[in-house]
Symmetry: C2
Subunit: 148 residues, 2 copies
Amino acid sequence: MNIGDASERSGLPAKTIRYYEDIGLLKPGRAENGYRDYSMSDVHRLKFLQRSRSLGFSVEECRQLLSLYGDTHRESADVKALAEVKLGEIDRKIAELESLRETLRHLVHNCHGDARPECPILDELAGSPEAACGGAARANDEVSPSKH
Amino acid sequence: MNIGDASERSGLPAKTIRYYEDIGLLKPGRAENGYRDYSMSDVHRLKFLQRSRSLGFSVEECRQLLSLYGDTHRESADVKALAEVKLGEIDRKIAELESLRETLRHLVHNCHGDARPECPILDELAGSPEAACGGAARANDEVSPSKH
DNA sequence: CCTTGACCTTCCAGTTACTGGAAGCCCTAG
DNA sequence: CTAGGGCTTCCAGTAACTGGAAGGTCAAGG
């Protein structure tokens, strides 16, 4: 299939797909007329890229992730190690998204309208997940180390 | 506190913090020596930015999200509407992360080492969450609309 | 008092990851 | 056979940083 279809199926603009080819993330075939020719496997790679990029992974991280199921010369132990590092990052991202969701939910349900600048729920939730409830390093409201 | 502390507390490099000020995402005070002076509220904003950016929200989206609890002139209904749109996006992102996690987990546990290019689990999981299991629009392995 | 080193300041240039637009070829439909 | 849409390359512009130079500030040590 050519780039328009690949674009539609992957959710990536054609421009971006060509760019990914430029930087070596995939190498589609070429038809006789010079048009790029994408296989389903190419589309899978593209879809994978679309997702990972939209979730905050850098292109280089995506390249690593793609190498997980693209490189047959890789040792199984390496694959496992890299995959597990990434699994940890994914779990962290999920936790942060859930915390962000809570922030917004509280905003909608508890802090409706006026007295927002002081809202203590947001003050806490905007912080780190652990620090909000029972953190030992909870500072007083206006900390000033080396302030004069 | 000055920028080094704000950087440490927010997890953002000082360079980035100055950049965010340039584009109007926060406006810290200034000490008499000309140094920027960050309040806890500034740090909260920064931490919020750090998170949202790392989760794939654009700077403009972050600006909107920040306006949710920064702008006292905003109507409560507007806040709710925008927050709910963003809640939807967050849920989608969480679902995609979970799908990505499954992809990697399968990679580690089921497809160890050699026969990766053909791995059907990955072929499916690299696709969209619905399309993988029981999708009506599941195409055959090598689709070629307008191929000759 | 003076220097050393770790901060901070601004400014300008470079990088990453796209994104838009021009100029031109290919291909189907009227 | 020409109009249209889709494809090609190339080059320039944008978004979001990132690095580095040149210089001011400040607490500590000799």
